[in-house]
Symmetry: C2
Subunit: 204 residues, 2 copies
């Protein structure tokens, strides 16, 4: 059974062009894929379960995305706004990095995409490569350019690793002290630490 | 086919008591389980594949460990030496925390156990609970007691989260800038940051 993604049924469905219907189906498939990859993990999510979630035929999912690997890549496509990192000064980097942590998981829109990627990054090579080379790689390059100096890449990678650890512990492992902490508390405790990471010793 | 775990064959096998042989089989099963859980993940590791790796009957693995959940728990049993954290001063905590990171993954003995736990911690509830409540929980309590003050638990949890992020990025995701960094470089870049985390602002 095919249902309209916005639940308005067949009447408005008929007013849409073929391309608009196609686009809307793709959006619904991606949303379902994000939820399932995030909740059940890569291995237990299949083209068939995604199709069932949307209420379409598996062949239609294949027509849109080909293989499961490509559906996964499309579902977790980076929502990291690197431009805010590019424009941040060294002094601003800690706050911008923490904002990315909060926005990635506390905005409903981006949470399932971020969670689908992170949930699978240690067990599935596709997710690992996407996280390391695309998401963390892009962020590292932007931050390293701001830091400058000999060990800019290492400092940027350490900043990335610490914010990754905070994200996993707070939102996926749900360590109580971190899950219950307010944003202000995390800014207060992490701010000086992240500042130390992005500030080469010669500039202290 | 049953083989002696140390490869010395049947002759020395006969000199062992029944309890010694039983103990040696358990050690071999655990070592194989660690390798397989670390390499293939929880879902794709079974009592059957572990038994095949050791060269024993699956029934023998069941006899020793019962279910797969119990085999996993025994295989990843914490090797974190919390006593060194208990005895560390606030000034010593960053170096001790980093030593745990290096020793957990750079010593052959503990690597497969640590990797089996971390590799599965985002996709398997058993691994997640063990990491959060046992390994990270124990560490957090020891570090919080040293830090003291109102936000000691939060600071200890943040220290844990950052060292977790560094461990994952360096050894599992293998982010190049971190995987290639020497221990001294990591001490230099991370030391001041970890110090800031464990030092309440009032003491600065």
């Amino acid at each position: 059974m095919t249902v309209a993604a916005d639940g308005t049924g067949e009447k408005s469905e008929k007013r849409l062009s073929r391309d608009q219907r196609r686009e809307r189906t793709a959006v619904a498939i991606l949303a379902a894929a994000r939820r399932l990859f995030a909740e059940h993990g890569y291995d237990r999510t299949t083209i068939r379960t995604v199709a069932a979630e949307v209420g379409v035929d598996p062949a239609l999912v294949m027509q849109h995305f080909g293989a499961k690997e490509r559906l996964f890549a499309a579902a977790v496509e980076s929502t990291v706004d690197v431009s805010s990192l590019v424009h941040a000064t060294t002094q601003e980097l800690p706050a911008v990095a923490l904002r990315h942590v909060f926005e990635g998981f506390e905005d409903v829109e981006s949470r399932s995409s971020a969670e689908a990627l992170l949930r699978n990054c240690l067990t599935h090579p596709e997710a690992m490569a996407l996280l390391r080379d695309d998401v963390m790689g892009q962020t590292q390059a932007a931050v390293a350019a701001t830091i400058g100096g000999d060990d800019a890449e290492l400092r940027a990678a350490v900043l990335n690793a610490c914010t990754l650890g905070i994200t996993l512990a707070r939102y996926l492992l749900e360590v109580p002290a971190l899950a219950d902490a307010g944003r202000d508390d995390l800014h207060r405790v992490l701010g000086p630490a992240l500042q130390a990471i992005v500030t080469p010793v010669s500039e202290v």
